[in-house]
């Protein structure tokens, strides 16, 4: 009798054992069997993403990513597999798999924190989650400009600054330059943008890496100067030879030399939009003006290549980058969101973003003036405008011989009252009244009907209802 061939006999009752078949796993199951990891197909991945809740789940694939090394390996494999696909924007370098220092785009699409941030800011669907994830990566976490938020931040800073400046100059045409700088800083300066980042509920990582959530702000944090260095009992800032952040000032400009008088005019020409010295290089790898010999060699190298090659001192990995502060990185993030919004959704969306998040903030311009000689300035102003010379007159007073007198003084040009204020002495009242008069001059605002912003009639908004009206341009500041 023929021996029963158990494998054949059994195979008639069981389905054929095709080793290429993948085991169909229930999306809600929590079983952790040690199956050999197979490459999930795109379809299966989509199915899992659609059906699972946005909560942390330990599947077989994530279990094997417990260590950063294996995760990096797998991300590297994924990047390698993706390079043949047509990638939008050609972000990936052509030679070999590049290491990732921040969560990959696939992880970004699955991050609940990131999706929640996108919805909290009511960003349009045109701005993808992957771009928002890239906006959260500071150059100190990943120095490659294709993977961090530096390009978006530069664009966003220009856009936010442009919209703020046109708002201020059209609504307050007589605002003096120093107050304009300060108002610009109050709206879109580093401190305000850092505060905005906190108000948006964006948290900061303790240390950047591939395994962190894609919805966290990633940066390499600078060690605080007050912290104690291990081994010694001294603080970091007391250690000899330590370089203070911001010591590299000027970037080669004349403005930063020790004997240069930095007035308002020089700030307009040389400095940034807030009147502050521009520190270091505008972007990584920028050609700074140096001595003639170095210039010659740099220019020759560029011309020979035809393309700009990476200079040897450019950081290639997060180990080489300089650490930044949370405030700096937060400002970069907010600027990057504005820049990315412009690229994906257009100029109108950026303007709406600026109006909703920046201009909606409250700023008292009348508290930002710090006069040194208001009476002299008012006198020069009246002479320039052809008014009668200002005369201070006592309107009312009380308690002259008491401990707390009050003198209400008004400054008149002829019969017209320019400004009035109360003071504890006659002189104080006179000076405060002159300051009030100057404030009312500087804070002149045309009627809302007359104000037309340039961005309302330029570019894509041209011919859409708003007609351009020439705006008030002031003669200039008071020369004393």
């Amino acid at each position: 009798m023929k021996r029963v061939r158990l494998d054949r006999w059994a195979s008639q009752l069981q389905p054929p054992r095709n080793p290429r078949l993948q085991v169909q796993r229930c999306a809600f199951s929590h079983e952790t069997t040690t199956l050999p990891r197979r490459r999930e197909t795109e379809q299966q991945r989509q199915y899992i993403t659609q059906t699972q809740w946005q909560c942390q789940r330990r599947t077989v694939s994530s279990k094997r990513k417990a260590s950063t090394a294996t995760a990096l390996q797998e991300e590297g494999n994924e990047v390698e597999a993706d390079t043949p696909e047509p990638s939008s924007g050609a972000k990936k370098p052509p030679t070999g798999p590049s290491p990732l220092y921040a969560p990959s785009h696939r992880l970004a699409a699955r991050s609940a924190k990131l999706a929640a941030l996108h919805a909290r800011l009511s960003l349009p669907p045109k701005l993808p989650l992957q771009t928002l994830a890239r906006c959260l990566v500071d150059p100190s976490a990943d120095p490659r400009t294709d993977y961090n938020n530096a390009p978006f931040a530069i664009l966003g800073q220009d856009l936010l600054g442009y919209h703020t400046t046109e708002h201020l100059t059209c609504h307050y045409p007589r605002l003096p330059m120093s107050v304009l700088f300060a108002a610009q800083y109050a709206f879109v300066g580093e401190a305000t943008l850092a505060s905005i980042r906190a108000e948006w509920g964006v948290e900061v990582v303790a240390a950047p890496g591939v395994e962190v959530d894609a919805g966290l702000l990633q940066l390499k944090r600078q060690v605080p100067g007050n912290s104690i260095v291990e081994g010694t009992g001294r603080r970091v800032k007391d250690m000899p030879g330590v370089r203070v952040l911001g010591a590299r000032l000027g970037g080669g400009r004349r403005n930063a030399e020790w004997n240069y008088r930095r007035g308002v005019s020089s700030r307009v020409v040389f400095d940034d939009e807030f009147g502050d010295l521009i520190g270091g290089e505008p972007y990584a790898g920028a050609q700074l003006s140096t001595s003639a010999s170095e210039d010659g060699s740099a220019v020759e190298a560029d011309e020979a290549d035809g393309t700009t090659s990476t200079p040897p001192n450019l950081p290639q990995s997060p180990d080489d980058t300089e650490a930044t502060t949370v405030s700096d990185a937060s400002a970069s993030f907010v600027r990057a969101v504005a820049g990315a919004l412009y690229l994906h959704a257009g100029a109108a969306a950026t303007k709406t973003f600026h109006r909703d998040h920046i201009l909606s903030r409250q700023l008292d311009l009348h508290t930002m003036f710090n006069f040194t000689h208001p009476t002299r300035d008012l006198s020069r102003l009246c002479a320039r405008e052809g008014f009668e010379p200002p005369v201070a007159r006592l309107i009312s007073e009380t308690g002259r011989l008491s401990r707390t007198p009050v003198f209400v003084v008004g400054v008149y040009s002829g019969d017209n009252l320019l400004g009035e204020a109360a003071g504890a002495s006659l002189n104080e009242g006179r000076v405060r009244a002159a300051a009030a008069a100057l404030r009312s001059w500087y804070l002149y605002s045309p009627s809302k009907v007359e104000i037309v912003l340039p961005s309302d009639v330029e570019g894509m908004a041209a011919g859409k209802g708003k007609v351009w009206k020439p705006q008030v341009i002031d003669v200039g500041e008071i020369v004393t």
Partner: protein, 137 residues
């Protein structure tokens, strides 16, 4: 310099321009064994997907807490956390508690004695003894 400026930071007015919902994350903890968690389990099965879809700006996390009463914890943008124990509640009541956490800001519960909160002193101007009708002795 004739005129210097005093730098400051513009203050936020949430809702004047964009409105940022203050609740950024809600954690739901349930138990498969405890009887007090029945309502919570029913809520998680039937009502949570709709709640999550209606509130895309809240990061929702569901995790078991075996042997404990069910609890909902909300985390807010100001860094504070609010927890509500939903033991022995029906699914509809759990929904109400989740809505309560969603609509709260993270501030401590306090009673406001003043009717109006504003940056501006007044709309019609603050009274001054030196202007207007002078009192003659």
């Amino acid at each position: 310099m004739p005129l210097q400026a005093l730098r400051t930071v513009a203050k936020s007015q949430n809702g004047v321009g964009a409105f940022i919902l203050q609740c950024k994350r809600i954690d739901f903890h349930y138990c498969d064994w405890a009887g007090s968690s029945r309502g919570m389990n029913a809520f998680l099965k039937h009502q949570l997907p709709a709640f999550a879809a209606q509130n895309p700006s809240i990061e929702i996390s569901v995790s078991p807490r075996p042997g404990r009463h069910p609890v909902i914890k909300g985390q807010y943008i100001n860094g504070r956390e609010k927890a509500i124990c939903v033991r022995n509640m029906e699914a509809t009541e759990v929904t109400k508690k989740a809505e309560l956490l969603k609509t709260a800001s993270g501030e401590k519960l306090r009673r406001d004695r003043k009717p109006v909160k504003s940056f501006n002193e007044s709309v019609r101007g603050v009274w001054s003894p030196f202007h207007g009708r002078q009192y003659k002795i």
